[in-house]
Symmetry: C2
Subunit: 130 residues, 2 copies
């Protein structure tokens, strides 16, 4: 666990509560790996992405890993979130300056294709038929 590194989990946001609950649940799974974990939403819900960044900076981190909790790359992960972060399109690493402080940003890819995703899907399908 490195106190210098913060983790920001970014969610889409929703007019209902479920997206936020999921983002918070996933974030809570990382309390062993990261001392500083925050969430931020692109749309419709608070805290916003910039709020999450600000909260991590208040805790003194100098590096932030941003994980977009989205299924696939798309306009949100490739354009909208990088813009909020102050990264250029397509950048997965970069430096941003917030209130005069320079911060390293590491921008992860979303879930994408993964055998475990298909395993979860199969469980849901079996459950629906039972």
């Amino acid at each position: 666990m490195n106190k210098d590194i913060g983790l920001l989990i970014v969610g889409h946001g929703s007019s209902l509560k479920y997206n936020k609950e999921l983002v918070r649940s996933v974030a809570s799974e990382f309390s062993e790996e990261f001392e500083n974990v925050e969430v931020g939403f692109l749309n419709l819900q608070e805290p916003k992405i910039k709020d999450g960044i600000d909260r991590l900076l208040e805790r003194g981190v100098s590096k932030i890993v941003v994980f977009p909790l989205f299924l696939a790359r798309g306009v949100h992960t490739l354009k909208d979130i990088p813009r909020e972060l102050g990264l250029n399109d397509g950048e997965s690493k970069g430096k941003i300056t917030v209130d005069g402080r320079e911060v390293d940003i590491f921008y992860a890819r979303p879930i994408e294709n993964d055998k475990r995703l298909a395993e979860i899907a199969l469980d849901r399908i079996k459950e629906a038929m039972s």
Copy 2:
């Protein structure tokens, strides 16, 4: 494998290609469990949900399991997709009639919170920092 059952994987759809690629990849994982698998998109891409249903019916199935490849419940999974399927809000099972044929629909829940989802997220986070 039961020839009488069809699987429909429903995706959000996107103006970019990645959501469709992911939905197709996940669908391809079920060729052992299901002889009849189709995909359908809510927005922006073809085939639409109704096209997927029609394709399954052309293959002679009398039951269709619908899996929404979405991270969390929300307006899309609770309202928009059920409406396309001809289910009432909140129904996870129902009968629909298409061109005079009665079909049983089993509507699965989306991915939602799952340990394997957090495991994938941790892999993406580690990859971004490496």
